[in-house]
């Protein structure tokens, strides 16, 4: 399987930026982060001791509508938990995340936004890392579909997602906790449980602790381990940025 490709710090005027191309779903998303900046209208926000997180999703070929507002809400609630808004320089300032969908099938009005949600989350994480926004942890996401025959497919294409009986987006933190669970369609609880296990092995690519304390090895063999992919992308970039320091040591 071809893994996703990402690049970091590609925009010179933004504080942090990233782009991610997912080959199976075909989505290409460009994200930029500006933080901490002044939000003139929000000087007396609801939480005056914390930073305000703002997320904007912009489709490449149309104006943002209800679907984008909905997905912005999901992104904001996940990212707000991860960003440490009380660190120095951040209280009463804004963290503005702009995500532009620059490639892949357009999400028609009324269509499901779950297809693209994992890519959007991944890009915003990479862009936040590249802007050096303080965070308590990182996370990784997976998109899974359950077909009518009950098979679980990972990263379904747009057509496969339409035909699937249910779609699931799960995000796991770098500590292994479940951060986000968005599902749609009809599914049984046992199905969801097996989806969760599969998603965990895709995201973390490591042992899943069983109920009895035993450790069963995840089948992360040929599937891209999303967590490792994020680490590698960031480490590669930092190695190049600090080659002057690493080489001289």
């Amino acid at each position: 399987m071809v893994g996703p490709t990402a690049s970091l710090s590609i925009l010179s005027r933004a504080d942090g930026s990233a782009s991610l191309k997912c080959p199976t779903t075909g989505y290409n998303v460009l994200g930029s982060v500006n933080a901490p900046i002044e939000l003139p209208a929000r000087r007396d926000a609801l939480k005056p001791e914390e930073a305000t997180v703002e997320v904007f999703v912009k489709p490449g070929n149309t104006t943002a509508g209800v679907g984008e507002r909905y997905v912005e809400g999901i992104l904001r609630s996940v990212l707000q938990k991860v960003i440490l808004g009380r660190e120095r320089g951040f209280p009463r300032r804004g963290v503005v995340i702009t995500l532009a969908i620059i490639g892949g099938d357009a999400v028609e009005r009324g269509d499901s936004y779950l297809n693209i949600l994992p890519t959007l989350l991944q890009v915003s994480l990479l862009a936040l890392l590249s802007a050096a926004v303080p965070m308590s942890m990182t996370f990784s996401t997976a998109l899974l579909g359950v077909t009518k025959s009950g098979d679980i497919i990972c990263n379904p294409s747009a057509a496969e997602a339409k035909a699937a009986s249910s779609l699931h987006v799960l995000a796991f933190s770098s500590k292994g906790h479940l951060l986000l669970d968005e599902s749609q369609g009809r599914f049984e609880f046992e199905q969801w449980e097996s989806v969760r296990e599969r998603a965990f092995s895709i995201c973390r690519g490591m042992a899943t602790p069983g109920a009895d304390g035993d450790v069963t090895m995840g089948d992360g063999g040929d599937e891209a381990r999303i967590n490792g992919f994020i680490c590698e992308t960031v480490e590669d970039h930092l190695h190049r940025d600090y080659s002057w320091k690493i080489d001289s040591a």
Partner: protein, 274 residues
């Protein structure tokens, strides 16, 4: 020196990477925080250091510090005692309101915080003019104002030298990481030879442009570099642009010292200065 260690937010700093100097307490630099870890015993809590930013762990055994070097293109967050290049936005009775980084609240610079300034002899700075200033305070609590100064309040002198209005010259933007390296390179250039922090570009430019009368440079931690070559006569503008291009290309392309020297030679030839 052990292998370079790169951490992501939430990762713990392994204890064998911490400096082993026990004479003074360990100081945490940016990008790290101390968390207490609940343990099985009720009254015994252990502490762990975790990263809050992705970056390279650096330690200084002499000063017993550990910090995270994050991405160099990040936004500048004012810190006390940093030197910055600020632009005057407008002035009020007591203060000049200055811009340090875009889209943030203005920093305040007292009308009398200049060397030898009194109510009658204070600099009349206009909108858009530049000052080289030190961050005096960043305030306490959320959303506090940043205050700048061009004078040491204890002595009344502009310490370290060169603080005050920047007249003439031109400002170039570089990344904040590059600005920090340039400051270290220009402050310790005399004793340590040509290459400091992997930067040879400044000393090379200094050698090549000596015949033109040299140049003046001021580096702000907020990612701005002010360059002035007013001694160079007719080629002053060309030399200023050449220096700015050398610094920006070194930053963008992450050049090593050998390539930096080649770049200086190439740009000076293109600008017909060498």
């Amino acid at each position: 020196m052990s292998a370079p260690l790169i951490l992501l937010p939430g990762d713990e700093v392994p204890s064998d990477h911490l400096p082993s100097n026990n004479s003074n307490p360990l100081k945490l630099g940016p990008g790290l925080r101390l968390l207490s870890q609940p343990s099985s015993k009720p009254d015994a809590t252990s502490h762990v250091l975790t990263a809050t930013q992705a970056g390279l762990v650096t330690t200084d055994a002499k000063r017993n510090t550990v910090s995270i070097l994050s991405f160099p293109n990040r936004r500048y967050i004012p810190t006390v005692n940093d030197l910055v290049i600020a632009q005057i936005h407008h002035s009020s009775i007591d203060y000049f309101h200055c811009m340090v980084t875009p889209h943030t609240a203005h920093a305040l610079l007292g009308q009398l915080s200049f060397e030898g300034a009194t109510k009658k002899t204070r600099p009349m700075l206009k909108q858009g003019e530049l000052v080289y200033a030190r961050v005096l305070s960043v305030g306490v609590g959320a959303g506090a104002e940043v205050e700048l100064t061009c004078v040491n309040p204890a002595t009344g002198k502009s310490e370290p030298g060169g603080l005050g209005p920047l007249v003439g010259g031109m400002v170039f933007e570089v990344s904040t990481g590059m600005a920090a390296r340039l400051i270290r390179a220009s402050s310790s250039s005399a004793e340590q030879g040509d290459v400091i922090d992997g930067l040879a570009v400044l000393s090379e430019l200094g050698k090549k442009l000596e015949s033109l009368g040299g140049f003046e440079i001021a580096v702000g931690r907020n990612g701005k570099v002010w360059v002035d070559c007013s001694n160079a006569g007719d080629s002053a503008i060309k030399a200023t642009i050449a220096i700015g291009r050398c610094l920006q290309t070194t930053d963008d392309k992450r050049l090593n010292p050998v390539d930096q020297k080649k770049l200086v030679t190439r740009i000076l030839r293109e600008m017909k200065l060498a």
